[in-house]
Symmetry: C2
Subunit: 331 residues, 2 copies
């Protein structure tokens, strides 16, 4: 391993001077050149580990995710990485399988300077403890009992947005897929939806998976006699549910946006490519992630304020998957 020592040997300068140079201190031009030359010869590269030991900072933040299985997670990693690379801070990713409560400790052991996390129930405690030592920013799920800075989607508003869109198209009745067991962020979307839609809103229990949603929707569709009977509008308050619902509808042979209406959640690509184009509620993933990145960075730079929470607004991306209802189904 090539170190300051090698540079010392070839330049005759002291370690202190070399270090000073590397940290922007003043060094006589001749020595400056000598050091540069020696660096080039030996291919010297500062050792971040030694630096970290000495300084107590690793210039690294941890990104903790419950799994690595969707676009949002990727966006989080990407945004945080991009923002932090600008200031030369590295990103360590860690997933926290539900079996294992030690993932946070793994990050702390690596002496990360901060953590950006999508909390899951089993690491709330560890995150709370961690928050005592380093900045922690929570994302996506407002974990009960975790009092740290956070950036979240306004889930209730998302549900309301979907309901209002249906109402404005003449729908007074609709089914909302309601995951079983519940997940608080999705549950808030369901609540917002039901509250806004009024008595016509019905919740349809389904496992939180593509196939679960497909089966649930398929069995509702099978039990409906004519295509225009009964509730023919669905709200899928999550990407997986959306995918399942869409598959079920397509498999049933019904025409989306005519026989049956659907508002999905996330999955911009899917929405664009669907036929007809799917109307979805989108959460501003990139903004959420960027806001989180900005927040850790502020905290790292010492702006220690009382834990603050930001709620970002959902957007409706309109396609043609919601039929317009007047007296009878038209179009």
């Amino acid at each position: 391993m090539v170190s300051y020592k090698d540079i010392q040997l070839t330049t005759g300068l002291s370690l202190a001077t070399i270090s000073k140079y590397f940290n922007g201190g003043n060094v006589r031009p001749a020595n400056r050149e000598a050091i540069d030359a020696a660096v080039a010869i030996h291919g010297y590269r500062p050792n971040a580990i030694a630096r970290g030991l000495r300084s107590g900072k690793s210039r690294t933040v941890g990104v903790l995710l419950p799994a690595l299985d969707n676009d949002f997670h990727l966006t989080i990693i990407a945004s945080v990485e991009q923002r932090l690379r600008e200031v030369n801070i590295g990103v360590v990713v860690a997933t926290s399988p539900s079996a294992d409560a030690a993932t946070v400790d793994l990050l702390l052991g690596r002496r990360v300077d901060g953590i950006v996390a999508v909390p899951s129930p089993h690491d709330v405690d560890a995150l709370s403890r961690a928050a005592g030592e380093i900045p922690v920013v929570a994302l996506d799920w407002r974990a009960p009992g975790l009092d740290v800075d956070g950036v979240f989607l306004d889930n209730r508003a998302a549900g309301q947005l979907a309901a209002r869109h249906l109402r404005s198209h003449g729908h007074t009745a609709a089914l909302v897929l309601s995951p079983e067991p519940p997940l608080s962020s999705v549950a808030a979307r369901v609540d917002g939806f039901l509250a806004e839609l009024g008595p016509g809103g019905v919740s349809l229990a389904a496992p939180l998976s593509v196939d679960g949603a497909r089966d649930a929707v398929a069995s509702v569709l099978a039990s409906v006699l004519g295509p225009t009977d009964a509730p023919t509008a669905f709200f899928a308050p999550n990407y997986e549910l959306t995918l399942g619902a869409l598959i079920a509808i397509n498999e049933s042979g019904r025409i989306l946006g005519r026989d049956v209406s659907l508002i999905g959640f996330d999955g911009t690509d899917l929405a664009r490519a669907s036929r007809p184009r799917l109307t979805i509620i989108e959460q501003p993933m990139r903004e959420i992630a960027e806001e989180a990145a900005r927040t850790v960075l502020d905290l790292l730079q010492g702006e220690r304020a009382p834990a603050r929470e930001r709620l970002l607004a959902p957007r409706l991306n309109a396609g043609a998957s919601v039929a317009r209802v007047t007296d009878t189904v038209t179009d």
Copy 2:
């Protein structure tokens, strides 16, 4: 920062003994308990940085990606992380924006023990140099001049697979979207396709983007008079191109699998939700990533063999987006 020293103070044991205990050495039961107690009291956590300095290993590997913008990249991170966490090795992600040739150095500065990379042209040199010091495994793109272990899709075979599928459905002519500027992995798919399909294969230049593909396909469709004239089969050798082609077809009002045929690439979700279900060539992302993870791990554990290359086979996931051609279009 709580360290061995604190434990030394409360137990009276020497640092050497404490260290030995933490590394699985034999320690008298009484002392064992004393240490455990002290650890609990102080909330001690081994300092990976100090360990790393002393041992020269960081127990960290770098994952280098040109960008973080698709499913495959996520799968790579997920698989590598999952595999390495089993043996307590951390994962640092770094993206390498095309402006910047220093991303590899950033990883080396952090003294990663190995690198898994999807190479991009501007960091081939740096990767080559890195390979002299630590194991490097390349993924997805076989960069010319980069002589390291690699795991890739058999791109030619993927093109051939698509062509054979079209032929078996009676198609003798088809357009393949051909990215401009070329990207060698996608180009190999195009080549395989054209070679297998024979003289009926025509390449259609398009920028490597969703909108580029959409425009290219749209203009072809607009110039076709009747729905059954001329080439009505497309092969999109990449996810973005697939998405663009699908959008163009839907927007044109033509019916997929009847008026026009399409074989896409990747995007299992999209394929399932498309109506009709899309026929795609899938690369075994998870396997590729897992194989890469396994390879770094082997290399880290000293199995230093001559650089080896693995080619994984594509799969065809059949939907109903390819029409069966006999004399005239049927169905």
